[in-house]
């Protein structure tokens, strides 16, 4: 057991049980059990992708475009090919010859346009960092040396780097064949936004800017591609989140039969969505292995990572909120310009950021009149795709900032403002303004809880006392409504081939111990442990009797892997069903052995028992041994089947979870520096399988959001040159500036699965930045400062808001 209680389940709301069977929720479900894998990692025995070496393995380095937009006039690789240790140099056309291009389009979004993309630039490079040549050598250092000898003749072209200018008719074009730079646009709404604003007593408007981010997994991206020409098989050891996706991609785009492609995940040093994607440099490496017939290793270094790992956020949102005198919101409009890179990201699409802003803005509130528009311009910058939260941090920040603005305009306390406008219990189930089905959100419970946890009235009193002495502290709230466990409704119609189903095999072995093979994957979040807990509970064995295997497409059931906080919500269901099936099968066998009715038996603590009295009839080990090795003692018609595989397909389009965060800050109004004093989270992600692991996910997610609030910003200059090329410039949160984070859980059980779990991995990131922005503005409001509406909040921005610096 982990060493101390991490959170309390404050309120468990049991929704109507629509399942016909009994669902068994017992220990170790709900226990904060330790991850045994953590012991291995804490002793330096992790085996990450770069730790693996294969026979005859060679190393890849890339030549990348130094320009945001340039035509490749010629490439002379002859000197590079002769460099010490060089094995081969590949250019874009050579790789393109054996790779089917892909697009970032979707069948259900006909107005999402993105031309075909090859692994390496063939005619033009569309962002600084796009690969144009691949050097393979006997070491990474030698490959880099050789890469410097590749002579590329460039013709620099005008770069499209400003979101608004990109949409002007006279803008240079990223893809001339498309006629303009608008990759996608969309609109949602309901009610009558015009009357919503006309009848209002206050209307507030704001344009908010969201800096571009990247995920910065400490272990950079990487893979070892190992193609065997004698068998036409490909094995890829990949630092990735979705191995079956990559199996499909490699098979389809390299023309290798899919049953011959195997993707294996070593230990992975963080994912956060970054490692969910198809990267063109990675596909190029696989192509190189195919052409060479030997293993090729590529590990992105940190500069390459910052330059070419998918980016995220980068929105400019104009929002308007209308309220009546009593604070009731009568209308909300949101216009989002959300840039993407040179292409829309394939499979996962680059539209997620913007679409989730449209769908989730205003979600917690009773808003009849809503309009949201999205414009997605291409830029000559790196690809935008899915990073923890995907647009929801923006939706929350926009919404909660506007609610606070309106509250201030009407002279209403922000807590009271939310009470007046939240959807109430009796309004559920309902549809949010953006069209999302909301089954039930524990909004007021979460608000009440956070108000209590932060001692809100006392904190306000204290704030006033400090203000009187010239110290400016602020309190900010951020209500979160988020989608988790995104199901087939998003990816299915897109026809991108993503599996939204996940599966689990539970295998009882002769020893009576249990091996579990799951299609979900684990990059540190501990989902493997949750799976083991679920199986232990479902089957009736001690947690220590269960081991879990994941991350090998030749071994696990077919499934989606890790994305959209779905590991336990979906993978856990499959594990539960598989465990119950094995339990039922084991009891069938026991019944045959014991000449009893299987319904009179149960398994608990690895013993077959009378269900009524608990009396032990035989051990599970004994049963398994008979089932596997003593079939001679069984009646002829008995077929022991002590393993089972089950999948889970979510029946709802998505699970919706909610919560609230609060931030307490102090702003030094002379220097503009913000100190994070306290942070609270109340999260309702349904049932917690392992509270300690969930707390870890929430805190880690919050700190990424705090990074968004104060530090992180990928900056390009007007020529599309990256200015934040190292970790000295792209500032990630370090321990000193981070507060302790109070986490409390509410468990409103999800009713469309058996375990009642929803998903928790992204909640921290979704609300944290918003809470800080609101807290900073709360601190500065009495000084007559212009509301700050830009992330990250730098000291300069604070000083400008205070009018101390122009």
């Amino acid at each position: 057991m982990l060493s101390k209680p991490f959170s309390r389940s404050v309120w468990a709301v049991e929704m109507a049980d629509t399942m016909s069977e009994t669902i068994v929720i017992r220990a170790p479900i709900g226990d904060s059990v330790e991850r045994s894998k953590a012991r291995r990692l804490a002793n330096g025995r992790g085996r990450y992708t770069d730790d693996l070496c294969l026979p005859r393995m060679v190393y890849a380095a890339f030549v990348r475009s130094p320009y945001a937009h340039a035509r490749i006039v010629s490439i002379d690789a002859s000197a590079a090919a002769r460099a010490p240790g060089a094995v081969r140099v590949f250019t874009g056309p050579e790789i393109a010859a054996i790779v089917e291009p892909w697009t970032g389009e979707a069948a259900h979004l006909p107005n999402l346009r993105s031309p075909p993309q090859y692994p390496m630039a063939v005619e033009r490079a569309l962002w600084q960092g796009e690969p144009v040549a691949l050097v393979v050598a006997t070491s990474r250092a030698l490959a880099e040396d050789a890469a410097l000898l590749v002579e590329v003749l460039w013709e620099e072209l005008p770069a499209v780097t400003d979101p608004l200018a990109a949409l002007e008719p006279d803008s240079p074009l990223v893809h001339p064949e498309l006629g303009n730079n608008l990759a996608f646009s969309h609109q949602v709404g309901r009610g009558d936004i015009g009357s919503g604003f006309a009848e209002a007593d206050h209307v507030c408007e704001q344009t908010l800017y969201f800096g571009r981010h990247t995920g910065v997994t400490l272990e950079p991206r990487g893979l070892i591609a190992d193609y065997d020409p004698t068998l036409d098989t490909l094995t890829v050891h990949h630092s990735h989140q979705a191995p079956f996706q990559m199996q499909m991609v490699f098979a389809r785009h390299l023309g290798i039969p899919e049953q011959n492609v195997r993707v294996i995940l070593p230990d992975i040093g963080g994912g956060f969505g970054l490692k969910l994607h198809v990267y063109n440099d990675e596909v190029a490496v696989v192509a190189a292995s195919k052409l060479l017939g030997r293993p090729v290793k590529y590990i992105a270094d940190r500069v390459e990572s910052l330059l070419t790992d998918i980016h995220a956020r980068d929105h400019r949102v104009t929002a308007k909120i209308a309220i009546a005198a009593d604070g009731k919101i009568t209308g909300l409009s949101v216009d989002d310009i959300c840039v993407i890179g040179g292409y829309s990201n394939t499979i996962r699409l680059s539209t997620g950021e913007g679409m989730l802003v449209l769908m989730f803005s205003g979600a917690p509130y009773d808003i009849a009149n809503y309009q949201a528009t999205l414009k997605v311009p291409f830029q000559n910058k790196n690809i935008i795709a899915m990073y923890r939260g995907v647009g929801q941090p923006i939706a929350v920040t926009v919404t909660e900032h506007m609610v606070d603005l309106a509250a201030r305009a009407a002279g209403i306390d922000p807590v009271e403002m939310r009470r007046r406008n939240y959807l109430t219990d009796d309004q559920f189930p309902t549809t949010g303004p953006g069209g999302v089905h909301l089954e039930y959100l524990s909004l007021n419970t979460c608000l009440d809880t956070v108000v209590e946890r932060m001692h809100y009235p006392a904190l306000r009193t204290e704030q006033n006392t400090y203000r009187a002495s010239g110290v400016y502290r602020g309190i900010g709230l951020a209500t979160m409504v988020e989608v988790t466990a995104v199901g087939p409704v998003y990816y299915g119609p897109a026809e991108v081939g993503v599996s939204t189903i996940d599966g689990c095999t539970v295998k009882l072995e002769q020893s009576g111990k249990v091996r579990v093979i799951t299609s979900i994957t684990d990059q540190g979040q501990g989902t493997e442990v949750g799976i083991a807990q679920i199986v232990a509970a479902g089957l009736g064995v001690p947690f220590a009797d269960v081991s879990v295997v994941s991350g090998d497409t030749a071994v696990t059931p077919y499934g989606g892997g890790a994305y959209a906080s779905r590991g336990i919500a979906i993978g856990g269901e499959a594990a539960y069903d598989a465990a119950r099936t094995v339990r039922d099968n084991a009891l069938s066998l026991a019944a045959a052995i014991l000449q009893a009715d299987p319904r009179s038996l149960d398994i608990e603590d690895a013993q077959i028992r009378d269900a009524d009295t608990g009396t032990i009839r035989m051990s599970l080990a004994e049963l398994s041994k008979i089932g596997y090795t003593r079939q001679d003692t069984l009646p002829l018609d008995v077929q022991p089947e002590l393993s089972a595989t089950r999948s889970f397909n979510p029946k709802v389009p998505a699970f919706v979870a909610n919560g609230i965060q609060a931030s307490h800050v102090e702003v030094d109004t002379d220097t503009g520096f913000v100190t994070l004093l306290d942070h609270w989270v109340v999260a309702d992600g349904g049932r917690l399988i392992n509270p300690a692991l969930v707390d870890g996910q929430i805190r880690g997610g919050v700190v990424q959001g705090l990074g968004a609030a104060l530090f992180e910003h990928i900056v390009y200059d007007e020529n599309g040159q990256m200015q934040t090329a190292t970790l000295a410039d792209y500032m990630v949160p370090m321990a000193c500036e981070m507060p302790d984070i109070d986490v409390v859980h509410i468990e409103t059980l999800h009713k469309d699965n058996k375990l009642g779990t929803k998903g928790a991995g992204e909640a921290g990131t979704i609300g944290a930045a918003s809470a800080v922005l609101n807290a900073v503005n709360d601190a500065l409001a009495p000084l007559g400062a212009e509301p700050i509406a830009s992330l990250p909040i730098t000291p300069e921005i604070v000083l400008q808001a205070l009018g101390k610096v122009s």
Partner: protein, 292 residues
């Protein structure tokens, strides 16, 4: 990224170092702590033909005190400077600055001389040398030179040390009994280079400040003494009008360079804020000295 190819040599004597510098000139680089050089090599921003590893020259390390002067050898690790009883007893500015310098692991290898010779405009030690009126000692095959700190920092990563010379140490007068000081650094995260920083020293004479030195870092292309601002305060009590006068004068002393951490106006403003705070601290120090 991996470093480009180079030749490596670890001389056993200073004479050997100078010979190598003479032979290779700009193609050679000195490897001391490596905390600044190695990143530039790994980022392939620099391609020296020869790396001269001076870590074997034990005579260049050490902190000693003699006749009112502290001598710190260039090869002294920053961790040693931080822990040094001599520094902590006699050089308050340096003592206060050291915890701001990078992080534990960097200080364990990084050297005192390396930080000063590299002269990053946002680094703490060059400003400390200015505030403490230190003398930097450089040596070549031919001669030893002593250069006042106020004449040492010339421009962006540029010092008065010529390519054939090695910085071998600094000599710093110990704090007089009436020394008052302030060290303020604004950095986005602990251990980062400064957005703006100020190392301020003065001597309390009666209720006035004399010999005021205001050394800014993170503002311009090098650490810089704000001479006019210091003049506005010297010989005076650090009361509100005097402090205001110093802040006014500051606009003539500093012409901040914009970077990712702030534009010129912001840096100018922050420099003024730090000046006000530092002078306030100096004034309180005078008050304590007066009542001591």
């Amino acid at each position: 990224m991996k470093a480009p190819p180079f030749q490596y040599v670890k001389p056993q004597s200073l004479a050997e170092v100078f010979e190598l510098l003479g032979e290779h000139g700009d193609d050679a680089q000195i490897l001391a702590g490596g905390q600044s050089l190695m990143p530039t090599l790994h980022l392939r921003l620099s391609s020296p033909t020869v790396l001269i590893d001076i870590n074997g020259l034990d005579e260049l390390a050490g902190i000693s005190i003699d006749d009112g002067q502290v001598t710190i050898g260039a090869l002294t690790r920053l961790a040693e400077v931080l822990k040094s009883d001599i520094v902590n007893a006699h050089l308050a500015t340096l003592s206060r600055a050291m915890p701001h310098v990078a992080h534990v692991a960097i200080r364990n290898r990084g050297t005192f001389g390396g930080s000063i010779a590299y002269a990053d405009p946002a680094a703490e030690l060059p400003a400390c040398m200015l505030a403490l009126d230190a003398t930097l000692i450089v040596q070549s095959g031919q001669a030893k030179r002593e250069i006042a700190a106020s004449e040492f920092f010339l421009g962006l990563y540029e010092t008065a040390r010529t390519p054939g010379e090695l910085l071998i140490g600094a000599r710093i007068p110990i704090d007089p009994p009436n020394r008052v000081n302030s060290f303020l650094e604004l950095s986005r995260r602990h251990g980062d280079f400064a957005v703006v920083g100020l190392a301020a020293t003065a001597n309390a004479v009666g209720d006035r400040l004399e010999d005021v030195r205001l050394a800014f870092f993170g503002c311009e292309d090098r650490a810089k003494l704000a001479g006019r601002a210091a003049l506005a305060v010297s010989g005076k009590r650090a009361d509100a009008p005097t402090i205001d006068a110093a802040i006014d004068a500051l606009t003539e002393d500093l012409d901040p360079v914009a970077n990712l951490l702030g534009n010129s106006a912001t840096k100018r403003h922050l420099a003024a804020v730090l000046t006000r705070r530092a002078l306030g601290e100096l004034a309180r120090g005078v008050g304590e000295a007066t009542h001591a």
